[in-house]
Symmetry: C2
Subunit: 318 residues, 2 copies
């Protein structure tokens, strides 16, 4: 079995593991780096379990068997060993600017000048961690939605100085592994996922703070309502269908949208020790899961996303 | 087969039809009112088809067969005939304040003083159409998400003067038909669904207007990413899981959320003749559906929501 090229994944947490699995599914040789043997052992054991479960559920990506894909993944505790032959390095370390800068500073010295250097950061634009590097033109943000194996969206956000071929090559790679990449034309704070998510958080938070709804009732608006639609159609598609196209929809509902948006309260800082935070936290512990029960609940969530991914595939959706 | 009581549905459009079906599923006698025999004939033919399809898919609600449920639904072109024996009247006429006022003004003269008077309006608070009525204390907004047979969320928004037993009785009724009612503690513009939806529209619109993403790429953020999660978990549940509970999540991400929300542009009016509206409209026509193709696309969407409702039921979700 000839490999299509070497990919390095830095960091063996949940995101690193997920990307390693995606890349192996398309036949790439993947080497995962982390600082301890134990963490890497954990990661490999997790990956083996997931590959087996995915194959059993008919959801394993790519044309290779679970066993073949597993063989493509190896580990390293030496960063040079991990990255030296890679055409693409994907950093998945914890979300701290100083750490990202340290890692990219090291990569700058270790890799060839045409290597692609990706970061899975959810909030740090590439310009912030790549500025000053010799290879700043090879850096790009590759931000998934968790869990990336089932929810295929990937945000690709180049820095202003990123070479065009970097975006193109990563986009092709993501499509090759069955993901849905979107390429940003400029950097923007929060990218797309978190701009939408944070706008929703604000509305939900205010509904509790203003004593309009109980927290557990706010949840139902998405999971028993809007969210079921958004699993299949975006917001513009929804507007398009809910009327005779987008322009007709804006004609009809534009004034209502304007009135409601103007009725929103100014942005205030979310505080974890506020009464609202405590009320929401307590409600979630009571109606959804205790903090101790969250690992089990994440598995519950992943099972549902896996089933939805299967359903969408069966129905011929993208 | 003894009926559990009579319900009147005013208006035979898509929302009226859907509620008639829901009420019949729990064994209520339902009479649908509209101004023309032809419209009512159309509605009954649609309902018969849907009941048959739902039964075939194992998704018919309630314990009665499709045939038994269909027999519970009758029609009337005389409003008095429709409402006189009903304990609950559900208005589903077009979304215009003058029309709502006219209908509720008539109801005020026709029904007994303990009748419940519901409106399925998506944007007019009950206080606006019920003020001045003798029975203003019996009025409530019962706002569904479309299509209510598959997406179970129902918003119940009483006016400040609505009797407490009205909210309680409607909540019980909605739970009886398998819906997920949430009761608002006070009236608020846009209620919950549209406050969230309009906040999302603003973010998506700005991403296009500021030339950050192409419209068809904005869509993927929801349908290939966030929306898949929201089909199963609300925003607070998502925060709870993405960390060690809500308060921990706010501790970690509060400053990022604050920074991103502060980076949002001020609210501007959406204009249907703007370059942004045209760009979005054209993109949706190209990548999703022409305006002529939308009826077929709505059927496509309903099929998916039906399948998701079935999946959630099979997985034991609420």
């Amino acid at each position: 079995m000839a490999s299509k090229g070497n990919i390095a994944v830095l960091g063996s947490g949940l995101i690193g593991r997920s990307f390693a699995m995606l890349y192996a599914s398309a036949g790439y040789m993947v080497k995962i780096y982390d600082i301890s043997e134990d963490m890497l052992k954990d990661a490999m054991s997790y990956i083996e379990q997931r590959f087996t479960a995915l194959q059993a559920n008919g959801l394993l990506k790519g044309k290779l068997t679970a066993e073949e894909q597993l063989k493509l993944i190896t580990v390293a505790t030496d960063m040079r060993d991990c990255v030296e032959s890679a055409f693409y390095v994907h950093e998945c370390v914890p979300e701290r600017l100083d750490l990202k800068k340290k890692v990219f500073g090291e990569l700058d010295k270790l890799v060839k000048s045409d290597t692609i250097l990706a970061s899975s950061t959810s909030c740090i634009p590439a310009s912030q961690f790549s500025e000053g590097l010799n290879l700043k033109n090879r850096c790009i943000v590759v931000h998934p939605i968790y869990p990336p194996y089932y929810a295929p969206l990937i945000e690709l956000i180049p820095a202003p100085w990123t070479d065009a071929d970097v975006s193109t090559r990563v986009k092709d790679l993501m499509e090759e592994v069955g993901s849905k990449p979107i390429v940003f034309k400029k950097e923007i704070l929060g990218f797309g996922i978190n701009r939408i998510q944070y706008a929703i958080i604000k509305v939900c938070w205010d509904l509790v703070e203003d004593d309009v709804l109980e927290p557990e009732d706010v949840e139902k608006i998405l999971k028993n309502g809007l969210g079921m639609r958004y699993a299949f159609t975006g917001q513009f598609e929804t507007m398009h269908m809910n009327g005779f196209g987008v322009t007709d929809n804006v004609d009809r509902y534009g004034p209502s949208i304007w009135a409601v948006l103007n009725d929103m309260k100014p942005v205030t800082e979310l505080k974890s020790d506020s009464d609202t935070a405590k009320k929401i936290h307590d409600a979630m512990c009571r109606t959804f899961s205790t903090v101790d029960g969250l690992p089990e609940k994440r598995k519950w969530r992943d099972d549902r996303l896996m089933a939805l991914a299967k359903l969408k595939k069966e129905m011929g959706d993208d």
